[in-house]
């Protein structure tokens, strides 16, 4: 009896879902929306030339970082392609065991462009791409390699990756030009995350390129993946130590850890350099001492790859979008003109392949995750 009643409870729980929907208050205000959705459902198949689905890594689409930039890219691309709101959507992953089912949900719902972000989802994205050759897959931060890390491109899957070492090299050069004490520092997230290692090696080489005598003190967070990007206290303490060692320019790459370092260094009177996004905008606390940021334009990258599907130039394999230097904003006047000219020259040499920013140096991560220049 009790069991039957509890069954009834579950049944009623489901029923109540439907009942709520019939609340007079709600349905009154929702009337026009309801009509709209019921009509669009019919037209959907004719209207959407593409249906774009986005699966976030464990994280949110408003994280001010990786996931947000990817999703904003999807939204922007959809607008450029003239797609209606019903033609693109997202799923936020809450448990890494759900990667597969989340991606497959979009396949089952008839989406034909599926964007996933974070290299943790790389293997499963590739597997589903292989099973569905008629659909397009874009993996942000996912290199198209097989289990033995040999390049293994599929025609319907693109890995959107970045040359973080470019951006790192440029901010490094800027730091090398701006330092007066000839000591510069860097605070980084996890060493085993390839993009972070690329930023670091690029930064070191950039400083040395313009200023071979300068001392570069780079510090990685020693912790594991769940803390190394979120430990503002560590960043702050490290920044204090670096400034007391004489560093007058500090670079930070590693989420909240780096942000903590930048804010502290700024308060102590040092110049700072940001990462991934223009941190003059995203970290207003440092707007009066931030020289520039190493930009990784994920958003533009996603828009570009989706655009290549529309214009037919989508070819599969790895795409390496460069990273670049953000505007100087408030400190524009503090940077000498000849330094700006030199930075532009360096940028050109980087893109043309004349300078390799990713040469491992003594004491650097033996596995620098460097990418051969194409």
């Amino acid at each position: 009896m009790k069991r039957n009643l509890t069954k009834l409870m579950v049944l009623l729980a489901i029923l109540s879902i439907l009942l709520t929907a019939c609340q007079p208050k709600v349905s009154e205000t929702e009337q026009p929306v309801q009509n709209e959705t019921s009509t669009t459902k019919v037209e959907e198949k004719e209207e959407c030339s593409y249906k774009i689905g986005y699966v976030s890594d464990v994280g949110k689409i408003n994280d001010q970082s990786f996931n947000q930039a990817s999703w904003t890219g999807v939204e922007e691309a959809a607008k450029l392609l003239g797609l209606g709101k019903e033609c693109y959507s997202f799923i936020e992953t809450t448990d890494s065991a759900d990667y597969e089912i989340n991606i497959r949900s979009f396949v089952d719902e008839g989406y034909n462009i599926i964007v996933t972000s974070g290299f943790a989802m790389g293997a499963i994205t590739r597997q589903i791409a292989k099973e569905n050759p008629e659909l397009f897959f874009i993996g942000v931060g996912q290199e198209q390699v097989n289990e033995n890390f040999e390049p293994d491109p599929y025609p319907n899957a693109v890995g959107l990756n970045f040359r973080e070492d470019f951006g790192g090299f440029l901010v490094g050069a800027l730091a090398g030009l701006m330092t007066e004490t000839n000591v510069v520092g860097g605070v980084f997230g996890c060493q085993f995350i390839p993009p972070v290692a690329r930023y670091e090696v690029g930064y070191y080489n950039g400083v040395k390129f313009v200023n071979p005598d300068a001392k570069v003190i780079n510090v990685y967070h020693p912790g594991s993946i769940d803390v190394c990007f979120s430990d503002a206290t560590f960043g702050s303490e490290t920044a204090k130590a670096l400034v007391s060692e004489g560093a007058d320019v500090l670079y930070g790459a590693g989420g909240l850890t780096a942000n903590g370092a930048l804010i502290t260094a700024c308060n102590q009177g040092a110049y700072v350099l940001g990462t991934d996004m223009d941190q003059f905008v995203t970290l207003p606390e440092v707007k009066d001492c931030i020289l520039s940021s190493a930009l990784k334009d994920i958003q533009e990258g996603v828009v570009g790859v989706i655009g290549s599907i529309a214009d037919g130039s989508f070819g599969g394999g790895d795409v390496y979008a460069p990273s670049s230097l953000a505007p100087f904003h408030n400190l524009d006047s503090a940077i000498p003109e000849d330094a700006k000219v030199l930075l532009e020259e360096i940028a050109e040499k980087l893109y043309s392949g004349e300078i390799n920013p990713c040469t491992p140096f003594e004491g650097s991560n033996p596995n620098t995750f460097c990418v051969p220049i194409k």
């Binding site: 009896m1 009790k2 009643l5 509890t6 009834l8 409870m9 579950v10 009623l12 729980a13 489901i14 109540s16 879902i17 439907l18 709520t20 929907a21 609340q23 709600v26 349905s27 205000t29 929702e30 929306v33 309801q34 959705t37 689905g53 890594d57 464990v58 949110k60 689409i61 959507s89 997202f90 799923i91 936020e92 809450t94 448990d95 890494s96 065991a97 759900d98 597969e100 089912i101 989340n102 949900s105 979009f106 089952d108 719902e109 290299f119 943790a120 293997a123 499963i124 289990e147 033995n148 996890c190 060493q191 085993f192 995350i193 390839p194 912790g223 594991s224 993946i225 769940d226 803390v227």
Partner: protein, 372 residues
């Protein structure tokens, strides 16, 4: 006529204990729909997608069941400890420890499936039990409160495991950029019930365990002892129950269940390994599931199913209605709040309080600090 009313009385009691959760869900749904409207989406669309995502087709049913499985077992662990007057916040850590132990046995041991599967499950149980017995022992021996110590053991478990799968960690899959372990050998993976789906036999284990825990609690001497300690520690001592032994044992069984939940997750779901971001939150959801299930093993099954369905339906709700997955957490939180503070619901819907012999445990009793 009187006779009939007397007969109906127990039904009425059950009716009230069932109607309150239903009204709680109902009220939570209405409140959440306000939030959904404010965030610019359509609650009708969202709830329909939620229901379809949870029960729309065979695959969705399977995903619901897969989400339900660890919540049942974890919830049973929490409920059992609650009955023993212990607030086991450590389920999250015990799940982690359990999954790592079964990863170790499942990746290294070479044995036929018939031996390998039980051993791998057992590894999870033992690891979880030992991990939970530590706070149990600290409470029994020194009176250290289990809420504090289990929160600490959660941190310790998480840190040790992230180290072990981190760069150069002993369990790290050497060829991987991502912090993860090797996959379990084929012989250690749980059998699939319906071919070409992800439905493994974990749910059967979970349901059997619900019955076992029910029998253990309400039909065995050990169960009476556990519940007596939970209701009144002084009386339990007076009855000649070895209270200290009982506390450690209760924690160990509770942790063993949690460890098993972790083992089933790694043994049942591809890619059959432990990755960063894996299983996160099941431990804390288990606490909610146990409370919502009225800390009754059978109630836990249904509340786990409700939570599992919401977690699984959230996928389609996001996809169709663009409602962020946090909405589900809000919904679950509201339901829980109305169940825990059911005076609100009784007040709103004018339900008379009738159940005189309510089967309840005094949850705050544990704060006395051990068994001195």
């Amino acid at each position: 006529m009187d006779n009939l009313l007397n007969k109906l009385n127990p039904i009425k009691n059950i009716y009230i204990s069932v109607i309150v959760p239903i009204l709680a869900i109902f009220t939570a749904l209405i409140l959440s729909s306000v939030v959904i409207i404010l965030s610019g989406s359509n609650p009708l669309l969202a709830y329909l997608a939620l229901a379809e995502g949870a029960f729309g087709n065979l695959n969705n049913w399977i995903e619901t069941i897969l989400k339900t499985t660890p919540l049942i077992i974890g919830g049973l662990g929490v409920a059992l400890a609650f009955r023993g007057g212990l607030f086991n916040i450590g389920v999250e850590g015990q799940i982690f420890v359990g999954s790592i132990a079964s990863v170790i046995i499942g990746t290294t041991l070479k044995a036929p499936a018939i031996i390998h599967i039980p051993l791998t499950l057992l590894a999870g149980v033992i690891a979880g039990a030992v991990w939970a017995a530590i706070p149990g022992y600290l409470k029994a021996k020194f009176g250290a409160h289990e809420v504090i110590t289990t929160i600490m053991t959660n941190y310790i478990a998480t840190r040790i495991i992230t180290w072990s799968i981190g760069m150069n960690g002993p369990l790290r899959k050497t060829t991987s950029f991502v912090p993860e372990t090797n996959s379990l050998l084929e012989t250690a993976r749980l059998p699939i019930m319906i071919s070409d789906t992800r439905l493994h036999i974990g749910i059967v284990i979970a349901l059997i365990l619900a019955i076992v825990v029910y029998i253990l609690l309400f039909r065995t001497t050990l169960g009476i002892e556990i519940r007596t300690v939970g209701l009144n520690i002084t009386a339990a001592k007076y009855c000649g129950i070895k209270v200290n032994r009982n506390i450690v044992l209760t924690m160990a069984i509770s942790g063993g269940l949690a460890g098993l939940a972790g083992a089933i997750q790694v043994m049942g779901l591809p890619p059959y390994n432990f990755t960063a971001g894996f299983n996160v939150g099941y431990g804390f959801d288990s606490l909610a599931v146990a409370v919502l299930g009225n800390i009754n093993p059978i109630g836990v099954v249904f509340s786990a199913f409700l939570f599992g369905a919401m977690d699984s339906g959230a996928r389609l709700m996001q996809l169709r209605a663009k409602v962020p997955v946090d909405m589900i957490t809000i919904l679950q939180g509201l339901i829980l709040m109305f169940v825990a503070a059911n005076q609100i619901i009784r007040g709103i819907y004018r339900i008379q309080i009738q159940d005189k012999k309510a089967d309840k445990v005094n949850l705050s009793q544990g704060w006395g600090g051990g068994s001195k």
